[in-house]
Symmetry: C2
Subunit: 482 residues, 2 copies
């Protein structure tokens, strides 16, 4: 039975609220293993919908799935100098197997570039073998000191795309294409608006030439890095000797990319849409899009009501709407409403004897508004329209919230003031110096989330670095981040 | 470009043939990590089709997916006495994380009963919380000394179902139900006939009350354990204190089950159907069910032929047939045929200028028979029928092969003779003594694969143990196994 205590409100304690939303919806739980979470069926169902949508998009852009080993010889990590520096400190290391100490310890993959490029070196000989467009759905491990359910866990689930190309231009195009796929997914499926742009060197993937990211703003006005796409140049190709014969007969290193999103997205979904009553899940990613609650007192009523409920379910299912009839006995309708509200089901249909007589059902939306009767005739079309509207409204509301929490052309004082207070996205000029980034981080906890892509840039380009006053080389967006 | 050397034949060296089939079809590759394989896109695509079919069947029987941690505290394994004895010797152990030695080493899951029951203890309080019907798709690690691609690798992919029930009868029914699901999948999708039945104590899952298995016979007449379903009784519930309040208000331990199949199935599929020309894949699990090879010399021919090829592809795709047009330039049609044959694509359509004129295509089947022209009108129905027929023929051929390699009512001498020679399934009486099992294994390398379910038992029940002559307690099926 669900706990019926009210949730801590977002205003009172956003972090406590976040954990309580997860617990009430039974999305995940803490495990006995430090920093590792259990993804419960309600949470995993969202991940499955996310996987289905993303996998379709990856395949539509020509990628295939494969699977590479969990373990990586420790020496492999060291072959790319920046890569080992970035990842070695947070690895889990297997030192014993089958009861014996291993000659060379094995690292549990924190990401798979090294093991994958060792294979690409074997598979790629000629320009005819290119491009190689492979994605992997897998678990990875990064030893984290402070963990948060979904947002930062020692083990997490993700996908990692790894592609190899004959030219630098193709690799850059692929990097940008996949950033676009992520953005489309986040906006059209998660209803989570994102800024896209380039990372500065300090936030670049260890071993990449350039890292692009999608950055979202949560309801507490902190930023979430939701997905990254890296142009790796020839760095890993050189480290793993991935060469190919060009069409002209010369030998060159391949140009490569990698890109990934993880179960962290579920944390982003929660923090973008949910309210003080629990999870709000955008219809396109909900395990159940519609729950039907039958209401009856007598046995006669029960027969008629359950019959109508099941027939309605069948009609909706046939129209591709994921529908569940909650026919549990011994639980009052109000308790069911409460439970499904906490689980974020977008639409609820209540069907009682009077509804059966009127050939209608009472419709309630998870995102509010008056309950209203809807005729059972044409109900699938009606609910499709409701869900489409809700999907758009959630995106628009999140975008409006983000814009209200953003300032452009900020001064040094405004950056300091914002970061001491609510947070949000602060746009301003940046001189390009790492020293300014470091100082800002130390004094305000804010980091540059992205140097935004053209469509997100301010109408008037800043001319000076908001921190040091030197000429600006690019507009930057600062925020405190998860 | 594909290697064009003929494969080693099955008759000459089955084991070499097996590896060469995998390499030619690019299903998998050896990795730099001892005992771990890389599943290449062509192999992973078969796994994805397997997952899709099985996942649908699991959900249709009321199961939900979830995800539990990769790491298990070493002490957890020891809580169930038989379990630790069975699995501890083959574990990989993480001793360091984040640069520090861990207080308690973590085992990389060899199977997840222990971590899952530690969570069930938290989630289950009352009979109202039961049954819990959860499945997990995951990677697991078992430190193997001798490894074979797909059949036995240090890391492999699998699904593991873990269910908890209020009564022993329900747990037994679930165990049997999932064995049935596996059998249906193996026969209807993989076209791989299996015997089902009970394992003897020596082959029982470490910690189970009873283990049931699906056993298939490969083309070299060795058996492959293809899937297992375990009734765990209350063993793990006791070890992890998973109790619940019954409807009568008393406290009891839950009754539980677990069941799994793995990427080993891909090995079973290869060894059941493939021939000396490479992979043969049953249509229902093929990545591409139909490949279209356009044939043209002049530019004018090319335009017409490619147009017809693409239109045909669209027609087939609309009918739900997975179709690929191999329009690669610079590769002769014959080389393409050879490549797709090695990859096991069930049907090939060749379309040249004369076919365009005749509004037909030349159809070739992977499993032989004459090439024949088929009209493009109604081609989807025709190819659906071809695939259905091929699916049934593959199953029937495998079943006939298995029966030809089986003997019933065998004597001790026949068992010895069979196992010294071809192998196959040997049915005979069994006294139930572990000593007979041990002696037989030592002298013939054969093990009891199952005590077969009623429908697989011989018409005349054996009365004596074929080894010691004592009264038989059950008919058994012996074979040399992978």
């Amino acid at each position: 039975m669900a706990d019926t205590k009210a949730l801590t409100t977002r205003a009172a304690d956003f972090s406590a609220w976040y954990n309580e939303v997860i617990m009430r919806a039974e999305l995940a739980d803490y495990s006995p293993v430090r920093g590792c979470m259990v993804i419960r069926p309600n949470g995993y169902a969202i991940w499955e919908e996310m996987q289905r949508a993303l996998d379709r998009m990856f395949k539509d852009t020509g990628h295939q799935n494969a699977y590479f080993p969990l373990f990586i010889p420790q020496s492999f990590l060291s072959r790319e100098a920046e890569h080992v520096e970035g990842f070695a400190p947070e690895t889990a290391v297997v030192t014993h197997g089958g009861g014996k100490e291993l000659e060379e310890p094995l690292v549990v993959r924190p990401t798979s570039e090294t093991i994958i490029y060792s294979m690409y070196a074997k598979w790629i000989q000629s320009y005819r073998d290119l491009p190689v467009l492979i994605n992997q759905w897998a678990n990875v491990v990064r030893w984290e000191l402070r963990t948060r359910l979904f947002l930062r866990t020692t083990e997490f689930l993700w996908q990692e795309g790894h592609t190899a190309h004959a030219t630098e231009a193709e690799a850059e195009a692929e990097t940008r294409q996949m950033l676009g796929v992520y953005r489309t997914f986040m906006e059209d499926w998660m209803a989570m608006p994102v800024l896209t742009g380039l990372k500065t060197d300090s936030e670049r993937f260890a071993g990449a030439l350039r890292t692009y990211a999608c950055e979202a703003l949560m309801q507490d006005d902190r930023a979430l890095q939701a997905g990254t796409s890296h142009n790796l140049g020839q760095n890993f190709a050189r480290a793993f000797e991935v060469t190919f014969q060009t069409a002209e007969g010369t030998l060159d290193y391949v140009w490569s990319t990698s890109w990934g999103v993880s179960t962290r997205l579920i944390g982003g979904l929660i923090m973008t849409h949910s309210d003080d009553n629990g999870l709000v899940c955008p219809p396109r990613l909900a395990q159940y899009q519609v729950v039907i609650v039958p209401i009856h007192k007598t046995d006669e009523e029960k027969t008629a009501v359950l019959d109508t409920a099941q027939r309605t379910r069948a009609v909706l299912a046939a129209a591709g709407i994921r529908t569940h009839v909650d026919a549990r006995e011994g639980i009052k309708p109000g308790a069911k409403y409460y439970e499904w509200e906490g689980r974020g089901v977008p639409l609820r249909l209540e069907i009682g004897p009077r509804d059966v007589a009127a050939e209608s059902a009472m419709l309630a939306r998870r995102t509010g508004g008056k309950k209203e009767p809807v005729p059972l005739a044409g109900i699938a079309e009606r609910l499709h329209a409701e869900m489409n509207r809700m999907q758009i409204e959630l995106l628009e509301a999140a975008r409006a919230r983000r814009e209200a929490a953003s300032i452009r052309g900020a001064t040094r004082e405004q950056l300091i003031e914002r970061m001491a207070g609510p947070g949000g996205f602060v746009y301003g000029g940046f001189c390009g110096a790492a020293s300014c980034e470091t100082e800002i981080k130390e004094q305000t906890k804010a980091t540059i989330r992205v140097l935004p892509d053209p469509e997100f840039r301010s109408p008037v380009a800043p001319t000076r670095c908001l921190w040091c006053g030197q000429p600006s080389v690019a507009e930057a967006v600062w925020a405190k981040a998860y």
